[in-house]
């Protein structure tokens, strides 16, 4: 699972959960692989990201490298910055680990890169 996807998920749909965001992350296996860099795509995505959530998620799994704490001004034209964002969003892949609901502590296992968000019948 990529951090871009993590940025988009909440466990709000669970019974008794009101915000459910951001989900915590535990990792046991992260794979970093090179992915073709598409600066236009990254630039388009940045305004839609919840930046602090991305920053904290990257930090919590030890993949922060030198990502700035805030989005810089005029980021569209800063190739270096876009490259860093590209790296955390698309090149870092959580292969095994778990996502954690911040309110109930419910764990969602990630196996082979695929998070299992299936709830039990008493959780919905």
């Amino acid at each position: 699972m990529k951090l871009l996807t993590h940025n988009m998920l909440t466990s709000k749909c669970m019974k008794g959960v009101t915000v459910g965001y951001p989900l915590g992350i535990n990792v046991s296996d992260v794979r970093v692989s090179e992915v073709d860099f598409n600066p236009e795509f990254v630039a388009k995505i940045i305004p839609k990201l919840d930046w602090p959530v991305l920053y904290n998620a990257a930090e919590s799994i030890g993949q922060l490298e030198d990502l700035p704490k805030e989005v810089i001004d005029n980021f569209e034209n800063d190739r270096e910055f876009l490259k860093k964002v590209h790296h955390v969003l698309l090149e870092v892949d959580i292969i095994n680990g778990e996502l954690i609901c911040p309110e109930t502590g419910r764990k969602f296992p990630i196996n082979n890169g695929i998070p299992n968000m299936l709830l039990n019948e008493d959780e919905i």
Binding site: M1, T10, E40, N111, I114, N116, L118, L119, E121, I124
Partner: protein
Amino acid sequence: MCKSWKTYLLWFAQEHVEFRYAEIESLLSLFKIDMRYLEQPKNEPFWIVQFSSENDIKLLASRSVSLRNCLELWCHAKSIPQLHDKLKCFPRNLMEQHFKSNRSFKIEVETFCKHFTQAEKINKIEAFRAVSLTNPDVIFQYIEYYGTEANNPPELPYEVASGLRQLIKKISLKTRKFIGNTSMDPQLSLLMANQARIKDGAIVLDPFVGTGSLLVAAAQFGGFVLGTDIDYLMLHGRTKPSRIKQKVRDKNESIRSNMQQYNLEHRYLDVLVNDFAVPFWRDDIQFDAIITDPPYGIREATERVGTIKENYTVEEKHLSTHVPAKIEYGISNIYRDLLRFSAKHLKNRRPNEDYNENCLPSHPCLKLVANCEQGLSKVTSRRLLTFEKINHPTDEELRMTHNGIMDFREKYFIVREETRKERRTKEARIREENRLKYGKNQDK
């Protein structure tokens, strides 16, 4: 501005005929291409249309799946002598640009719904007194069409571009690594992706993703793809193989491995095991497109997680191995949820669009028979509305005051105010950029 229009023949594959018009219309709108129909398209494999630039037609062909090829149409006629006569009258200068002395060419004879032997084909060519080579720069096609109705026109066109028919073969299910018994046919997948007008960099979701055929098509056209499915074994490639000869699935069969196979891995985002009835997407997430093929309960169950037992809880000791129970997720509920979800999570492609048929002036006694738009500026247009009286009003109807129409002046100035503000901020930004860029040098 006066454009010069040229006539072209669009030749379609005679397959999925129903999708053809919708695909072409979607692509014309995606690329903002102007195309004129010289005749209303029917279910025939040939359309005669006009474009004002050859680039437009190339762009269209670069994305179309239903198109076989496009030809510049020089003439067409119902009989061969007529065709020869017409061709003789075709302006030389338009033809000659393709007959430069250093360019080779060949003539192809094509037929539709009839077969010619090689000798017959050569005779047809000889009739034009032309030469054919094996490796030409320019291809001329001569087509005899015996289509659904007899008596249709043979054509003599010059080939401009061909469509994406080869892509259908490239992503064929026969050679695809991971497939299942509900994998969507590649041609339909591509047509669906085109109808969703997927652009480079679009974020695309398939909430009932299965083996991800639709994601392959979406990624092929530049989409960054996400999928969800309730079936854990499916996403992990552990369901029973659907190929007759295959006993067990390979270790790494998955949607991701399909993307790798087609060199599209950089457009693969993620797939999640998730029941669509309880989605995990943040409320404000917007997808550029949602394309899907939801279950209809015949090949696969229409189910969601749930139980009919009241106050049921999973016991602590069973938690780690518990498989959630399912209840029926009726088709009508699936569609209701899908439309609601889409209304909420789709990006609005036409912000500020405040026109819809319902906001036109209307009266129960007047039937709208025509509605034609004339563009005035980027943000405004006016319409000619033609009404026909169909009933005489009752007293009550005469007194009716219904009017949901916002004052045009009011709207007009709101939009202008916005654009003026946008322009001012943009100018300020450019000034600031210039200051940063050149300011330092000036300081020296």
